[in-house]
């Protein structure tokens, strides 16, 4: 597992950890049931506070990317886990909601917004 923290980033440290672990799970770099470093080990390795790693892990857990076993540490959830998928969908929905709100403010129609989305998807 690779986690590289940037001091120059505007993203808080726990977010940086989260997004990197999330990406590793999604790309398959982190396999199902693989153990993650313990909270305190990770904190020490990255020279960050325990609370920061705790926040990153517990949010990842809520989002269904990892799971904790009492006293045994954190494991990677199966990629297709229901919770993870729901979480990802919820995020898409939330972002689309924001986009719809912004479109309304800008006076765009649904059709125009959908066109914009298609354009963005093509660029990506």
């Amino acid at each position: 597992m690779k986690v590289v923290l940037s001091n120059a980033s505007t993203m808080p440290i726990y977010e940086q950890i989260k997004s990197q672990i999330r990406a590793a799970v999604m790309s398959g770099e982190l396999m199902e049931n693989e153990t993650l470093p313990s909270l305190r080990q990770l904190a020490k390795d990255l020279k960050i506070s325990v609370l920061t790693t705790m926040r990153a892990y517990s949010e990842l857990e809520q989002e269904g990317f990892i799971t904790s076993l009492q006293g045994k540490g954190y494991y990677v959830m199966p990629k297709g886990s229901q919770l993870m998928r729901e979480q990802l969908l919820r995020e898409v929905e939330r972002s689309l909601g924001e986009a719809a709100e912004a479109a309304k403010n800008a006076g765009l129609t649904g059709e125009e917004l959908a066109g914009m989305l298609r354009l963005i998807m093509e660029v990506d």
Binding site: Y14, K47, I48, S49, V50, L51
Partner: protein, 283 residues
Amino acid sequence: MLKVKSISKDYGKFKLEDVSFHLPPGYIMGLIGPNGAGKTTTLSIILNFISKGAGDVSILGTDHIAGEAEVKKQIGVVFDSNVFVCDWKVMEAGRAMAIFYDNWKQKTFLEMLSLFGLDGNKKVGQLSKGMQTKLMLACAFAHDARLLILDEPTSGMDPPSRDELLELLQDYIKDGNRSVLFSTHITADLERVADYITYIRGGRVFFTGPTEELIEEYRIIKGGREDLTGDLRGKIHGLRMHTTGFEGLVSRRDVSREPAGCILERGTIDEIMIYTAREDEHK
């Protein structure tokens, strides 16, 4: 682990008022604040080195005065300067400490000395500040202290030694049963490793809680002179005007989104301290 409840101390000119904070086991807390804000007074009260005017301190559930001897067995203290007789050799400092702890482990002490590269035959008075700190740490480890209290341990240390010390502290709390409380005015060190921050300003607690909360609660605001409205001015702490604009600190509760023409950015603990201290000066 450590509960400090409403402690006060009246020195006439300087008052420590209603200082409370809580440090759970397994974490590091930084006690920050400008010089003379009451950091050392707070630590001295916890150690019953000076008597408190009011309030309660409990360590591992025991009152720090009623159960003083018991409590102190669990504490290791690292002072900001030498507390041993200068002519003592490092080994003699160890022998002096061993007098007071039934559970003193000479083996651990020797291991720590060699880990720290401390020469047992060197005189304590000839050690550098960093080495003196390490000697006191070795003593704390040798009696298996559960709570480590450090007074300004990083001042006067070069960056590599500071880094080394922080790594040691992280290692120390790794098993989740030990805690560290340290006072400092160099906060760059703390920024990342401290789980909790207690910020004392003018004898009062300005903030106590998770480090991230402190950083997230405030934003640095910058903008052009014309962007500074009267309403905004009232919300800015430690406002500084200069030829091309202004800068200051705002609470996110007061200013939640960027006012026109301004930018908001996350500040460091240092910056939060600088702006709030500037506010005190201008009062």
